[in-house]
């Protein structure tokens, strides 16, 4: 059975030979046109005059489209109908599309776009948190507030109270493949769109809206993206809509891709946050109550900012039982790019907030931060209740080592032992069980908490205590270079918080020759979703993977899909494919059973055969027999996530099906004269449930960690006083390179089945590992703290400059 095997990515053979096609690689008809936006050069105001004569007369230009060319300007917003394709005369940010150039080449379109003469009446741009608060520039009617218990009383009664603030920068996605779309006009006004999008249904919906067509008039296909990371959940809308309206206007195919600078300037990034906190705690470090205020810079339009800000609130507890908590979230509207989804979707920012609080508390008490973290953990999971223990866990995987032969030599700290929760860790500083209850600040019971065991296993395998002592000894004698070490946990909620999105469909065909065509609503952006789901399909039919053809995501095959986001791709689509496969399998079994002298339920699909009581036939024979019996070999599958119930306004309910867990220990060294810093070693233990494909999951963990570490260290977005993003290319925006790695990097899976009934008891793994990168920020804070007596108040990103400032604060 292929489920749980560390098989290569389904398209690896194509990728390594350059044969895998992205949108810009698809051969286009000879008359294809190319598009570029002309963008604003001011951040706020109105356009007083726009002379496009030079644009229209530029070589190669076929058409120019501006607001006046539309009866209604097409809208590109995924949420609030507040993103006109081109400006209606008001300018909301520097980089906003003002007009659209349609030309016979990409270069001609870009050249022409620069020939416009635009005059503006500038107004004062709202750029900072202070600007927005002063101007009352907000989304929704006021701040959202989630509360648990009486925070005021908890703070008043606490032994210690501390205040603090952390600034957390945004992050550019820097998907290697920039945004791209291609529209091909069809008969009767219909449109086919190829898009580099995580959300084909959204593209279909928005293109149909722009063209005045029912959704059935638009078909969207996505074979793959060259990276998404959330940046292609909504930000591809503009290009697809632009291509579609230009294709409608000209009757010719139209293609658009942003060059990298335009991509930086036009599209949204991770939300930057400021988090203020007041925490009350005891002498043992146990938190009595915490009051968070999160300020979220959302940019000019609503986009996905509300659920992003919600998820930040939902992760303000991370792994810690907060007896009393208040989380206040201000969603600020600013004249900057509209901040959007980015791996973690607000969760990472909320989590940085509480990790900062625990770091601060430990510093005040002079205690080991890990000790303070553990004393505040949620109580351990109890054994799973019987109703969740009956799921489909083939092969009795529980606790058995997985087939991960090719992972040998990775230096992994594979952790063996009995499965399930409940074991208390037994280190010298084990705290007593946490205070009563296991309820999050939003009223959800944490039933599956496994971080006690994971933390214990990781801290032992990486020798946290010994290395912490060594770092302290080093710091005591070294005047310039200071070391820091931190072990931080991750508890990440899995499910879309907009509950209705937790659904998925699949379409599976078995052909007469026994080959299988599989389709579902998820999109492939490198995460290996297609491979994992194909492994599910092959496992259900008991056949080899070579029989399963994975096809491009297509709104004509599976309708009404949700974005491939929220780490949910495999959970949702894997289940939908399983349902479809099982339906066909049951039909085949009913036809074949009499020939095997067995009941249909007794027929086993395995090794390319159907078997029952010693009788057997090949899968092909059974399929052929089913066809001859005039029984359908095609089925749809549908899945909806169970147990969810959530009121986002009240902040009460169960927004998540389950939590995914992880822990990382990172050691760093800083140069206190320059702020320069290095990661020396990182050890990770991550929970992917019973991994569907350990190799792909470890790839997600390594990549997620590095991306998270980049976010919190070198990746700095700088807007100038006029609202111009000055870091708009890789020359000025520094993402991690091959040489920026931990000297030692150990990654291991916590291979235990999910207690909830997910696909083969696996867990989602897309976003959670990004937050393992928080261990780097906390290790840097630890190193800065070693340079002086005061708390360093390290902000993110912890660039060399910021580390130097923090060293100064520690010494003040």
């Amino acid at each position: 059975m292929s489920a749980h095997k560390p098989l290569p990515h389904d398209a690896a053979r194509l990728h390594v030979t350059g044969a895998a096609r992205y949108v810009d690689d698809i051969p286009t008809p000879a008359d294809c046109l190319h598009l570029a936006f002309g963008i604003s050069s001011v951040a706020a105001g109105t356009v007083t005059a726009m002379d496009l004569d030079a644009v229209r007369s530029a070589p190669g230009v076929v058409a120019v489209m501006e607001a006046a060319d539309f009866d209604v300007i097409p809208d590109c917003s995924p949420s609030n109908h507040d993103e006109p394709l081109v400006s209606d005369g008001t300018v909301h940010y520097l980089g906003q599309p003002l007009f659209l150039v349609v030309a016979d080449s990409h270069l001609a379109a870009r050249r022409a776009a620069r020939a416009a003469q635009v005059s503006y009446a500038e107004t004062a741009a709202i750029l900072t948190i202070e600007d927005a608060l002063a101007a009352g520039s907000i989304f929704e009617d006021g701040p959202r507030v989630y509360t648990k218990g009486d925070v005021t009383a908890a703070l008043a009664g606490a032994d210690h109270v501390a205040d603090g603030r952390i600034e957390i920068g945004g992050q550019e996605h820097f998907y290697l493949e920039g945004q791209a779309a291609l529209a091909l006009p069809q008969e009767d006004g219909d449109m086919i769109v190829q898009s580099s999008s995580q959300h084909p249904t959204e593209i279909q919906h928005k293109v149909a809206d722009a063209l005045g067509l029912p959704m059935h008039g638009v078909r969207v296909e996505v074979r793959r993206m060259g990276g998404g990371f959330g940046g292609k959940e909504s930000q591809g809308n503009h290009l697809a809509i632009a291509c579609a309206v230009a294709a409608r206007a000209t009757g010719r195919p139209c293609k658009m891709r942003y060059d990298r600078d335009d991509d930086f300037l036009i599209t949204g990034k991770r939300h930057d946050f400021r988090i203020d906190y007041r925490v009350g705690f005891g002498a043992d470090g146990r938190i009595a109550g915490v009051d968070f205020t999160q300020y979220v810079r959302c940019g000019w339009s609503m986009d996905l900012s509300l659920p992003v800000a919600d998820r930040a609130m939902l992760h303000a507890d991370n792994a810690y039982l907060l007896p009393a908590a208040r989380i206040t979230s201000h969603r600020l509207r600013t004249n900057t790019q509209s901040a959007t989804a980015f791996r973690g979707f607000g969760g990472p920012q909320g989590m940085v907030g509480i990790e900062r609080v625990l770091d601060h508390v430990a510093h005040i008490l002079g205690r080991d931060p890990l000790e303070v973290r553990r004393v505040n953990y949620y109580p351990p999971a109890q054994a799973a209740s019987s109703d969740t223990a009956t799921g489909d866990t083939p092969g009795a995987k529980t606790g058995a080592p997985l087939d991960t032969a090719d992972l040998a030599g990775r230096g992994s700290v594979r952790v063996e032992g009995s499965s399930g929760g409940g074991r208390r860790f037994g280190a010298a500083y084990s705290p007593a069980p946490a205070a009563t209850g296991n309820t999050t600040p939003y009223g959800m019971e944490v039933e599956d908490f496994i971080l006690h065991e994971m933390t214990e296993a990781l801290s032992e395998s990486c020798d946290y205590a010994g290395r912490r002592a060594e770092a302290a000894a080093w710091n005591a004698t070294q005047p310039v270079l200071k070391k820091g070490i931190a072990l931080t946990p991750v508890k990440f909620g899995i499910s879309f918080t907009l509950t209705h999105l937790n659904q998925a469909g699949a379409l599976v065909h078995v052909y007469q020759d026994g080959s299988i065509h599989m389709n579902h609503g998820g999109t492939e952006m490198g995460q290996g979703l297609f491979q994992k789901v194909a492994q599910v399909a092959a496992s259900r039919f008991g056949v080899g993977l070579e029989r399963v053809k994975i096809t491009a995501t297509d709104t004509g095959k599976v309708p009404n899909t949700s974005a491939t986001a929220a780490s949910s791709g495999t959970d949702l689509n894997g289940m939908a494919v399983k349902v479809a496969c099982d339906e066909i399998r049951a039909r085949i079994a009913r036809v074949a059973a009499p020939h095997l002298q067995a009941e249909p339920e007794a027929v086993i699909f395995d090794g390319g055969m159907l078997r029952a009581d010693g009788a057997e036939m090949t899968f092909e024979e059974a399929v052929s027999m089913t066809y001859m019996a005039r029984v359908s070999l095609s089925a749809t599958g549908f899945y909806r996530t169970p147990k969810l119930e959530w009121d986002r306004i009240a902040g009460r309910g169960r927004p998540f099906f389950y939590f995914a867990y992880g822990a990382a220990c990172t050691e760093v060294v800083i140069d206190t004269l320059t702020g320069e810093n290095r990661i020396l070693r990182t050890d990770i233990l991550h929970d992917a449930g019973a991994s569907l494909n350990p190799a792909l999951d470890i790839g997600q963990i390594e990549g997620g960690f590095v991306q998270g570490a980049g976010w919190l260290t070198t990746e700095e977005l700088v807007w100038d006083a006029k609202g111009a993003l000055r870091t708009h290319a890789p020359s000025t925006y520094k993402i991690p390179a091959c040489s920026d790695r931990p000297d030692i990097f150990n990654v291991a899976l916590w291979d235990r089945p999910n207690r909830e009934d997910t696909i083969y008891r696996s867990k989602a793994v897309g976003e959670p590992p990004l937050m393992l990168g928080i261990s780097v920020l906390m290790a840097l804070s630890d190193a800065c703290a070693a340079s002086g007596p005061a708390y360093p108040d390290l902000h993110a990103p912890a660039t060399a400059e910021e580390v130097l400032r923090a060293v100064g604060r520690a010494r003040a």
Partner: protein
């Protein structure tokens, strides 16, 4: 603008193209020769997605004019192997999971190919610094480095066996 004829040897074949003087090599490869393995990532020579081999050197083809390639010998990812006949490096990237979204992969492998010509037996450190001009946003590089080291070991053991 007046177009010029440029003749170059691409993946072992002589190719003649008509180009504008300011046309970049990457576009000529992708659009005229339909070699879409090299990708456009940043267009400023930072990301390495467009890396090809020219006269025995790794070159980012987004910052070279096509006219500068007059008479040059060029190898793109398509010249190293095909889906039915993978080069050792290609096989290694596939088997060791040295890719996720795959967009950087052709440039990575092309660069790694040249790196192993320059240094057939590199240490991990040398691989990491030798590959530092190629950005990957997905993998965290661990498996890329592993793929290159494994390929180097295989090439070396094959050449030892041949001797």
């Amino acid at each position: 603008m007046t177009k010029q004829i440029v003749e170059m040897m691409v993946n072992g074949e002589t190719r003649e193209v008509m180009v504008e003087p300011r046309e970049l090599l990457i576009y000529v490869l992708r659009e005229q020769l339909r070699l879409t393995g090299p990708h456009v990532g940043c267009e400023t020579s930072h990301c390495g997605a467009c890396t090809v081999e020219i006269n025995g050197k790794s070159v980012k083809s987004c910052t070279m004019f096509a006219v500068q390639a007059q008479g040059a010998e060029i190898t793109t990812i398509e010249g190293l192997g095909s889906p039915d006949g993978l080069h050792v490096l290609q096989e290694s990237f596939k088997e060791h999971h040295g890719l996720q979204c795959g967009y950087c992969t052709p440039g990575m492998i092309t660069r790694a190919h040249r790196l192993l010509q320059e240094n057939p037996n590199p240490t991990e450190e040398e691989v990491r610094f030798g590959m530092a001009g190629n950005i990957c946003r997905c993998t965290g590089y661990q498996n890329i480095v592993k793929s290159i080291l494994a390929a180097a070991a295989e090439i070396n053991s094959a050449s030892e066996a041949a001797q």
